[in-house]
Symmetry: C3
Subunit: 682 residues, 3 copies
């Protein structure tokens, strides 16, 4: 077989987490697995996650033979391996001998052994044990032709809390990190506004992590602590990467968890060769599937945006999860649709957790390709196998393509942390939900969107949307100013430009007052007092959350509030600036408002859906395209997805090719419920 | 007076918890108590519960004189004593001197002094102090003619949590218990499936109790810990029993708390001479009284089933409790009705907590026969006194009878623990509520039911019902197979036969596939996605919870799902097997379904209510019968109970005798609200 | 300028908390503050709150110069200073060096540094550091002509919990306090009813504070612990007062927090020269403003009642707070109305938290007179400035007047603690909400009310109302008896006269059975079982909570229950006693009942609103009057407040003077929404 690797696999990866280490005493099960994998059109598995106790059963005594046998057997059968470092869970011999490896929580109490991601990232013991094991793994398997890449640990930071360790070693590391950042206590005191409530530090050793047992109301300190936690976890991961790279040139990834609050994935992306993530949408939970589908699309888009390249869907369930309160079966079709949605948004893989259900412990009822009883004779297995076939068929057209949006949304972890920590008028504010609200209408229009953080490049885009962009980091306002000046369209909202990198409020005018052409004054939450609405182009839209009171200062007023003492105040403004323009949306409104407003912007900027189609509700489109060396698009593929619980009809207004059948399609196209058609230029 | 004892009292016991130790400085109160007890037709009290600080005011200094005086005075007045060991609460001198006697919680933090059942069952100090005191109590009172039995501690395990102590001594005892059970770590690792998440133990000392501070997701470990906690508490209790028996031949009981999760009462029953329990239904809390009444009936039935003999109602309130958020007065009649319900279900007593309200601390407003202010001049006192008279009247007909059901329901503590711990499709699943749902229609039909655990005998019954019978212990499947083969009717549901004794899933077919004639595949919770229903004999019944997708494999399909992709799948199957038959109910449905289904089974098996009556809703019947030495029933008594908030009319279809009036009754019988008629064969 | 001081300021104080210590590095901000204060008609600020780290940056190194400069600059500009001791928050050098200064919580865990009111009131170190700093502050500023009073600490006890420290030093102090109180353990055991659950103490060292980790069900112990916590905090405060008085004759206050459960403000009032408090009503949160306005009025009334003298509104927000989940802007007018409501109820000041929003930490978005961006050009600033002008105008008529009610309500902290701790029929009982329910109808009638505790004087009043007066302290029953005998009208309810000072129930008759003419039996909560109501003068009123079953024993029955087994039982009784009368309200009923009943009592006693007016709903009146040396009222001022969200019209039935315009007003008077008219006898 040819030499393959993650990111250059030559096909769509299909398979998932495989735990033969749970069945080593049942060789017939392992043999059956091989047989079933082939029937399921599986070409790749992830091995070794959580297998530390099998790989190093006693301190310093390594046993890799069983793993090599399995990798080899798989390889001989055409199945590749993504090999994990097993640091997601520590073995008992480690935790019982070295207390320091376990995390201390925010109350100052050290965890007991167990759970996942319970390790202290500052522990020298943990770092050394990890280094030794990872190095040996790389030595042994780094050149095995069946291994295509490294999977560092698993869902890093996912300790069920905030991913932080508050032990003395971490406190010391935090102080060191602060000294490096601020140089002097004077600088730190200013940044943290410590004159408030007599918080002024006069000795570095007085500083500790925020804690509900003491102080957790100093926003600057909270923010720096989150930065430190992210940085320390990243540093630990970097050491793992270094260890595997010491003996291997294979690409490296770690499986991310979409909008995972603890870790700033834009920074993590820089450590990785390829992005991968675990997607577990809660299908069939709402009145319809659209909010779930939109939330999943935004997460896929974030992952693709981290490197602006295809990513890997590293985990997903072929049937149910077991960790929500209610876990419904994926209805027929939904497995294929949701898997193809990942491909549509930029994934080059469909991987599962898990291949086979274990017999014991908490995940024994988590969905799997193979259940406890019925082998290949299940609905789930058949759907997986069928999907595998489809992936094989479309792979030649898909591999090498990517989504290439002209619109970006600003998503920045540090601003997220700050806006969540803020105590202001609406302490129920759900920043992430609002972010999805600002994304969903574009998704409904069939228009792809990238996410950028505040350090990202804006000039590649035509439109940049920054909802609730609370924090403006150093240089951000200048970057936006220049983007608009050169012709860009910048759309932002109330509760933006409030604080700087230290979570200190700006004083004086809004940092983008010139670009936006408005002056901000108060902010309100009308809900519960009196219904209020925004009139835009003759239609009234209900206000659903924050409501900024601003004054036009040069900007054109496009919509106004309809009630209360701020009746007539601007609700939407437009300001021409340089060659571009900016919009300020003063309030959070019901969904229709953004749909109407975005529609106008897309039309003006010529950014409508690339597929010539009249969509119906619940049917959406993503576009992946192939670019020649000269940058010209040489092929475009569309994924037409019907998330409705019934069949839907769309109207194709040009002639296309069905990628899977080769047939030409145009005009009326019926999509059964939960299906996806893959089209190319006809 | 004649020599009496619990279980052979020669009448119905009537009285309750009496705390003269709170009033020793007010002798006039004690004298008034005697007078009022006689007026209230009280013949027995429980003494000494929580009186440790009075019985042993200093370490090793005992003072029993006050107690002897009271027992003697009561005896002289025709009132017998059930004497408690006072270990339910520890004295201050003990807790302040010996820290080890107090429990350590799951977070590793030792409790402070106070509360009840705060003792560590592994503490040598606690065991020794208890042994000394109990031995002396037995020495002094074991032969007193006024004392009729021993009441070991009080509501054992009721520490407001899970009854467990996690101290080092308990951890050691747990490890020892595991060594005895498994012999080797290899066996333990296999049973606990520790290869999952690198949990493998390589040294016994690595093992600890489950803790939210560390690991609590290893189901096998959780299950063994619960078994150990139960076993250790039982061992402590066994030592108390040994101590009192050292000097006394009186029967022993401890007051249980119905479906108390912590303790496996089937095992506890083996330690006791007689079963007793504390019943506190929440009357007047719902739209009607029926769910409360059914839940109470199932609890009484469990208690009777533990020894298949009459039990004692050891505590109940004559008016209100004070520990719910809202505590409503028992309406007129309800006290008599609920007390007679206990008798109807197999109790030979009606005992109260408490005789007299104390003046201080948390139970001062708990209902009592005697309140703070009004002596005998209260509604409550009058109702208690009237009930006492009725009990005296019916006693000669009741004593010696018992309920003798032909139907059993499988209730097994270990399966309960496992099904609660499971993380699967419906993590809101309330096993106990479902169990009551499966009991209630039988109760409405006037058909008594026994509970058996998986170690119990099935062959005495005609029908065995096993809802959500998640765990199949070793030998259980064989027992059921043999039961059906010999002609029994076995009724079970989805979510049964999933795991073995170690909470490891079975692989391959369902363990009773042959008996049930079905193959199981998936399980779903349709709720919230789409309404689904089951059509049975022409009627549609809404599905209310779990919904198994199974395939008939020999069984006859009696009902089918009506919607969703599993429309037409079997919802109820019947399979003939040997001389018997089995039914599989695939989904949890609204109440009417079981009523219809059970009605058919009862008719076919001739198991209808023994009283010839046409019941109306809210009127139920229990039957107690007397059996001659040759096993023949020589007398049957029925308790016809109207739980409606209005009068109800039933139609007697034979002639009966009203046990209390001696009158013949037949045809139309009106029962006022909250009343109970006691009938015998006319 | 003339010499002024708190309580003799010669005008209405207007200003608020000022934190220049957060801006010392920005002198231009401080200069702008001065300018803006003048524009805002501010005449007084509070300085130094939380400034410990600026005043004593290192242990023993004091720096007061910056403060002196600011006080001086303010003084030169006509702005006075209320100077705070900065103990509300401890500096880092203190907490990091002396662990003992931080509180230990009820679980026995010491807090980390941070937050407010985290100090242990028993810590000798904390006391000494405080004494030294306070003494020096008084030395330096005690005679400064710009300083008008001392503001001891800030919101004492407000540690987010119950204000208690459970450290060893506090445990020792508690034991000492108990020894002083009880003399012997025998007395203590009797008072705490420790024979219950074997709680008897045999050594003082066995006693600890109540804890959820151990025992918290001994009501007598809980009550004494609360008394001790209050006493210990008061003792600490007394030492602060002593320190500032060592070098200053200025009056002393501390800012209270209305019905703050931890501290018995009737006792604290005795330590203070003048009462002040912080008021943060949740305007615009309900269907209308009336419940919020009534709750605010009752709190103002409590504060005035503490010394029966005008008090200071020490904090309020000029716009929003930021610590509720949803914080709505004060609508136009509401700031003036709510500020004048404070004046109307007896305040001689309107002070704000805060003058200027800080840039960092948790209160940066708390409302302020000056925001981050717009200086004087905001709606909020303009409203504050306008109010300042109004206050100046009305001051000459207001200063020297006070409200002088003829009706008192009994509010006693110890009874509150006990009734909250009680576990009885309704454990959802919200005592404080019921208290407001009993106040609101009087407020709607335009009738002022004082609050008295059980040690207060009753004879000054015509009517005394004591709802849910659970505890009767020693001497209270006698006091009421004498009050009624002399002609007073005493109104009380069920759930009164239950327990004595030790939270031990009374035995025998209700302590006021003779005065009330009733015998009490049971108590119920009909809600959820059956709707019940009270018929009074032909109208039925729904019962909404507790429902006592009592029997008339001499009293006249004025209303009866309409349903359930207690249909026909007395619901309202009247009993003539001596020259007076008592009313017993047996149940908690919907609002209309009290309105009807109070209306009759007010008419009979001639206690109607002093302003001749026909009010409409939502318009209320308070009256302040000036009394000559001979006790005669020489002037009466009325504050006519419209809390409706629309304009309202009232009918003046005499001629009055508008205090601000000098105009005569009579007949129809329209009040715009959220306005207050100030009238005097015309």
């Amino acid at each position: 077989m040819e030499q393959r690797k993650m990111g250059d696999f030559g096909g769509i990866i299909h398979g998932g987490d495989y735990n033969p280490d749970q069945w080593l005493d049942r060789p017939e099960v392992l043999e059956e697995d091989l047989l079933l994998m082939k029937k399921a059109n599986v070409n790749c598995v992830s091995l070794g996650i959580f297998a530390w106790c099998r790989l190093e059963p006693e301190e310093g005594k390594y046993d890799f033979d069983w793993l090599e046998k399995i990798i080899q057997r798989l390889y001989e059968n055409g199945i590749y391996t993504i090999l994990a470092t097993p640091t997601g869970a520590m073995p008992q011999w480690l935790t019982s001998r070295y207390g320091e490896v376990m995390q201390v929580n925010a109350y100052g109490v050290r965890n007991y052994a167990g759970k996942r991601h319970n390790y202290c990232p500052s522990s020298p013991v943990m770092r050394e044990k990890t280094r030794q094991l990872d190095t040996r793994l790389a030595e042994r398997f780094g050149a095995h032709p069946g291994v295509i890449g490294w999977h560092i640990s698993n869902e890093i930071g996912g300790n069920g809390g905030d991913g932080a360790c508050h032990c003395d070693k971490c406190q010391d590391a935090f102080r060191k990190w602060l000294q490096d950042k601020y140089g002097s206590l004077e600088q730190l005191n200013a940044a943290w506004w410590t004159s408030f409530w007599s918080h002024t530090y006069t000795d570095w050793n007085q500083i500790n992590s925020p804690s509900p047992r003491g102080e957790d109301l100093v926003h600057g300190q909270n923010l720096d602590w989150r930065r430190f936690v992210d940085s320390q976890q990243r540093d630990f991961c970097r050491e793992e990467i270094k260890a595997v790279r010491s003996n291997s040139t294979l690409p490296v990834t770690t499986n991310m968890m979409e909008f995972f609050e603890t870790l700033n994935y834009f920074k993590w992306a820089q450590e990785m060769d390829i992005i991968s993530w675990d997607s577990y949408p809660d299908w069939h939970s709402g009145a319809d599937e659209l909010q779930t589908a939109a939330s999943t699309a935004v997460a896929h888009s974030l992952m693709r945006s981290l490197k602006k390249r295809p990513f890997l869907l590293m985990e997903s369930t072929p049937s149910v999860v077991n960790w929500r309160q209610i876990n419904r079966l994926k209805r027929p079709g939904m497995h294929e649709l949701s898997s193809l949605q990942a491909i549509a948004c930029g994934s080059d893989s469909v991987q599962y957790f898990q291949w086979r259900k274990g017999r014991g412990s908490s995940e024994k009822y988590h969905g799997a390709v193979v259940d406890h009883r019925n082998g290949e004779d299940t609905r789930v297995f058949r759907e997986v196998a069928r999907l595998g076939k489809r992936l094989e068929k479309i792979a030649p057209r898909v591999i090498g393509t990517c989504n290439r949006p002209r619109i970006a949304m600003v998503f920045d972890w540090e601003s997220w942390w700050a806006v969540k920590d803020a105590r202001a008028v609406d302490n129920n504010l759900n920043y992430q939900a609002v972010f999805v609200d600002f994304f969903r209408p574009l998704w409904e229009f069939g228009v792809d969107v990238d996410m950028v953080d505040m350090e990202g490049e804006l000039d590649a885009y035509s439109v940049v949307i920054a909802p609730l962009n609370y924090m403006y980091k150093k240089g951000y306002a200048e970057k936006v100013r220049s983007f608009v000046k050169r012709g860009g369209c910048y759309i932002t909202t109330c509760w933006s430009g409030e604080v700087d990198d230290s979570d200190l409020t700006f004083t004086g005018a809004h940092p983008l007052e010139d670009v936006l052409g408005i002056k901000t004054e108060e902010i309100d939450v009308p809900d519960g007092y009196c219904e209020n609405s925004v009139r835009y182009q003759g239609t009234d839209y209900r206000i659903t959350g924050l409501c900024g009171l601003v004054h036009a200062k040069g900007a054109e007023v496009l919509a106004e509030y309809q009630n209360d003492f701020y009746r007539g105040y601007p609700a939407l403004t437009r300001n021409a600036y340089g060659d571009g323009e900016s919009y300020y949306i003063a309030s959070l409104n019901e969904r229709g408002f953004l749909k109407a407003f975005y529609g106008n912007v897309l039309r003006e900027r010529g950014l409508e859906c690339g597929l010539q189609v009249r969509l119906t509700e619940g049917v959406v489109v993503n576009e992946r395209s192939r670019v020649a060396k000269d940058g010209e698009q040489v092929e475009r593929i569309w994924f037409l997805q019907n998330f409705n619980r019934e069949a839907a009809v769309v109207e194709l207004q040009a002639c296309y090719e069905n990628v899977e059948t080769g047939e030409k399609v145009t005009g009326r196209l019926e999509l059964p419920s939960f299906t996806c058609a893959v089209l190319a230029e006809g």
